[in-house]
Subunit: 453 residues, 2 copies
């Protein structure tokens, strides 16, 4: 794939330099918008707008939509008002809204002033929905049918209006108040006898989401029912739009990336890594590092308060890192598993006791295995006194149990408190478990080792 | 959503207990297969097969496909040969292959013996492809057209055969050797004049993947080009199947879950959390914990070898956990970012120096911020000698730089070595960075603090 676009880029550049614009235009018309966007994005900034202008109107809009926001911005700056209007008129509603959301305020004004009144009204409607809501990612261009239409009527209506709709694969049967009665796929319409009515052909009990629902749960619904588009209804239960499956794929990818970033204590960004500036990466990472560094000073306080015990038995120090790491890893395993299950709607808050009971048993199994392995190693390799080995092993067992319990409950409590569970992953769990494991360690040490000190 | 299925479950149980089977059957026919599957899975094991039998043939197969593998197994055990054959005959090829892959060997024999000869042959073909390859997730039921067909011919052909195809939204134009010439959507066919030929209507230059390509990159391709199905070709470039977008959503979700699990040092499992047994969870987690515990003993060795320095200046110990945590967090941020970018094909091995240079600059920025904050805290709150504070701060700066560099390079090297980059995440990076940061710490300590000891 990569190589193909690289070869094409070479060709593009040559044709542009030799001013063979007609051939370049012909070449581009054989390509997919996503490919043209990739190639243009890598072209020198001076050539790029000139080549973009060669594209026919519809392909230009489709290519524009596929570009990264910095390239879009550069292009809009180079557009005349007429060119801008042409691109906006050809765009689907959801893409137009995305564009508005990505651009700085002064550009937004220019874009909106070029959109026609009806488009502007629809864009403003969609912009009212919260980020990450189903309403904010829907498009308003779907095929609506009435229940008394026959299959032949429906196909005629699609022929007449389908060219402006984002998808015709699933059509929606609505009553005169725009309430959704059912869905009928183009496949059903084509395979049906021409005189059958939509009423009899449709799947009733249509599944829909509300404009205010979370986009991630909308995608889960689409995936569960294998839909290629999902109807979105407003508070009065009127159908206002659809989410299409190509957007669902993007949303799923974006949500997974966000969760992964948060789990590693990074503020998520939707820019590709190589296109993100060093300063921006720093800004996304530093607050978390600072916060975690400050929390980690508690471990220092614990250690300082047990300095005398450590001075009396310095070999205790050598096992601190292993204990902390094992506790951190055990806790992350539990927290990451629970966070993912929450994301996929496999778990709810009411399952918290089932989850804790499960993690407790897993912790006992893991703890027993690790402790046994560790005990053998301490006795045979390190050859330390049994009492010290017992202290280390007992601490490890307790740490693992606490780590797993903290790891599984914190994300669920976060969800309950309407916070993002993904933040309660490895780094925070590790910091909390560090302090707890050190406290346990020194407690056991003072108790068991009294004889030695 | 949840509440709806709970209410329905109650109703199901009552109708079944009162033996009102006709009503139960009518009720089920108004529901989606995914909902019936959820409800049946939660029913008592004795009732479940009886209720399943009430479903009409096509709905039965669709419901069956939506179930978890343990429920499928229980159902098949309760099926007569005729019932089993009916379900298999109604299934799409990709679902049949999934079933075979999930079931134990003795069941597979029984299932294959009930499939008709042609289905059996196709299943065996698909089973030959590697797990996670595009070939293993494709279905062979697509609409193939010839270039000389008119739009009207094409629609007639779809009417005649479409009922058995998994999707008709995109049709594939093939020559007589099954080479893919282009794609034509049902929308184009419907909007076109009836006498236009597929040759003139189709989008040439069709994008396809090879049967041996990775399923994840196939999904990336679908997402990039906004396809609802993606053609799969064999080594001789003949079209053998398609991947449909509903499967793409599942694959994307599964691949993200796998990456997330690996990043937290867990062997991925495709079962939902609450359906996974305690022993199985233990099995997925313990090897990594053991491996990491063993690696963490190196930190113990480093500490032991500097025991005299620590005994001379015990306040050094208090900063070990903070240093290790900060190093670990810095490294995870870099590694997780790079792992995700590799998964999304945003990065390739050849970018390694660009990535290292970027991470180096980010590390300098993060290191400077954290070190400055830390220095102020050490001087004002902890009131430790300047030389000790300098040791801690210098170590921190070096640790952060090393952590970011190790964090970004290891996943890329892993990818280069055809290993899974996701394994090179937080836990491994932390373990490596722990050892390095301690070594640096004690080096600086012995150098700078010589005067104090």
């Amino acid at each position: 794939m990569k190589e193909r676009t690289e070869i094409l880029e070479e060709t593009f550049r040559k044709l542009a330099e030799e001013k063979k614009y007609a051939s370049l235009r012909d070449l581009m018309q054989t390509l997919y918008p996503a490919d043209i966007a990739t190639i243009l994005s890598d072209m020198p900034e001076k050539l790029m707008p000139a080549i973009f202008r060669l594209l026919p109107k519809d392909l230009a809009a489709e290519t524009f939509v596929e570009m990264e926001s910095d390239i879009k911005e550069a292009l809009i700056k180079s557009f005349s008002d007429t060119e801008l209007k042409a691109v906006i008129d050809e765009m689907y509603m959801d893409d137009a809204v995305d564009l508005i959301e990505e651009m700085p305020a002064n550009m937004v004004r220019r874009i909106l002033s070029q959109a026609d009144a009806d488009t502007r009204k629809q864009i403003n409607e969609i912009l009212k929905y919260n980020d990450d809501s189903a309403g904010s990612v829907m498009t308003t261009e779907f095929v609506g049918l009435t229940p008394d239409m026959t299959a032949a009527d429906a196909i005629n209506q699609i022929r007449a209006t389908g060219v402006d709709k984002e998808t015709i694969n699933t059509c929606y049967v609505l009553d005169d108040k725009y309430h959704l009665l059912g869905t009928v796929t183009i496949r059903t319409l084509i395979l049906a006898a021409p005189e059958e009515t939509c009423q009899s052909l449709m799947t009733a009990n249509a599944i829909s989401v509300n404009t205010t629902d979370d986009q991630e749960s909308a995608v889960q619904t689409m995936s569960k029912y294998d839909f290629t588009s999902l109807p979105v209804v407003d508070a009065e239960n009127r159908m206002v739009g659809i989410i299409t499956v190509d957007d669902a794929l993007d949303i799923m990818e974006e949500e997974a990336s966000e969760d992964i970033a948060k789990m590693a204590a990074i503020t998520p960004s939707d820019k590709p890594y190589l296109r993100t500036g060093v300063f921006e990466i720093w800004k996304n990472r530093i607050p978390w590092l600072l916060l975690l560094m400050v929390s980690a000073t508690f471990t220092g306080i614990v250690i300082t308060s047990f300095e005398t015990a450590l001075a009396a038995l310095p070999m205790l120090i050598a096992y601190i890192p292993m204990m902390m790491d094992t506790g951190g890893n055990s806790g992350s395993q539990a927290s990451v598993t629970v966070i993912r299950a929450l994301s996929l709607n496999e778990l709810e808050f009411k399952d918290i006791f089932r989850v804790m009971w499960k993690e407790f048993r897993v912790a006992i199994l893991c703890g027993a295995t690790l402790t046994a392995a560790n005990f053998v190693k301490l006795m045979l390799l390190d050859k330390i006194p049994v009492a010290v080995a017992a202290t280390v092993c007992l601490t490890m067992l307790c740490t693992i149990i606490i780590a797993k319990l903290v790891g599984c409950t914190l994300p669920m409590l976060a969800k309950r408190a309407h916070l993002d569970p993904a933040v309660m992953a490895s780094p925070f769990i590790t910091t909390i478990v560090d302090v707890l494991s050190l406290l346990i360690y020194f407690q056991f040490a003072t108790m068991i080792l009294k004889a030695y000190m």
